[in-house]
Symmetry: C2
Subunit: 116 residues, 2 copies
């Protein structure tokens, strides 16, 4: 018995850069969960440097910051997803769901011809 | 003036393998155009070996072959996309179009917040 799955990836490109896509959306959720870029990176097995780059790209692609950082404090500064960032994230997840929903039928129409 | 684009990628996974996705769909179209796996590979800047692997994966994931090859002949054998392969390709492209169509609104809703 084989397992058929549909994988959907949506990326919004801003010139040559990815303003938001699967990895950045996941990172935003990890920052919401952990309140820190370094903890978020850790939870995704991503380097701190890489996570910072993703945050920087999001923040400079959009008109407002999606993530804000606080310097200092006992934990060396935290980070949070702004209201603006939450709105973009939510619209992105909605877009994924809408796409998944509409192509479920097409997916099944193809998947029925895979070896079982 | 920046350029915002939506990139959508759909892959149908059969266990751990991609039964069909953007690269394989493009390869099928190149085989239709050129009538040969080697010419199709060339037109995609892909090695012959890699193109063969993609064809093999498609052919063993589905219940019927998507690509059939002829041995020998003056050009060292050609290849063609079967009726079954055409049907799968067409359904895959339809699925992409349906997804694009439904998320156009969501895409614009996000893209309006990118820097102009």
């Amino acid at each position: 018995m084989h397992d058929a799955k549909l994988k959907l990836q949506l990326r919004i490109l801003w010139d040559e850069e990815i303003a938001i896509g699967p990895g950045k959306a996941q990172l935003l959720e990890a920052i919401q969960r952990t309140g820190s870029i370094s903890q978020a990176a850790k939870s995704m097995n991503m380097s701190y440097r890489r996570a910072w780059q993703l945050v920087e790209t999001m923040n400079h692609s959009f008109q407002q910051a999606l993530v804000e950082t606080q310097k200092g404090g006992t934990h060396g500064g935290g980070a949070h997803v702004t209201n603006f960032g939450e709105a973009i994230l939510s619209q992105y997840r909605q877009m994924e769901q809408n796409a998944h929903h509409v192509i479920e039928y097409d997916f099944q129409a193809i998947a029925q011809f895979l070896k079982q």
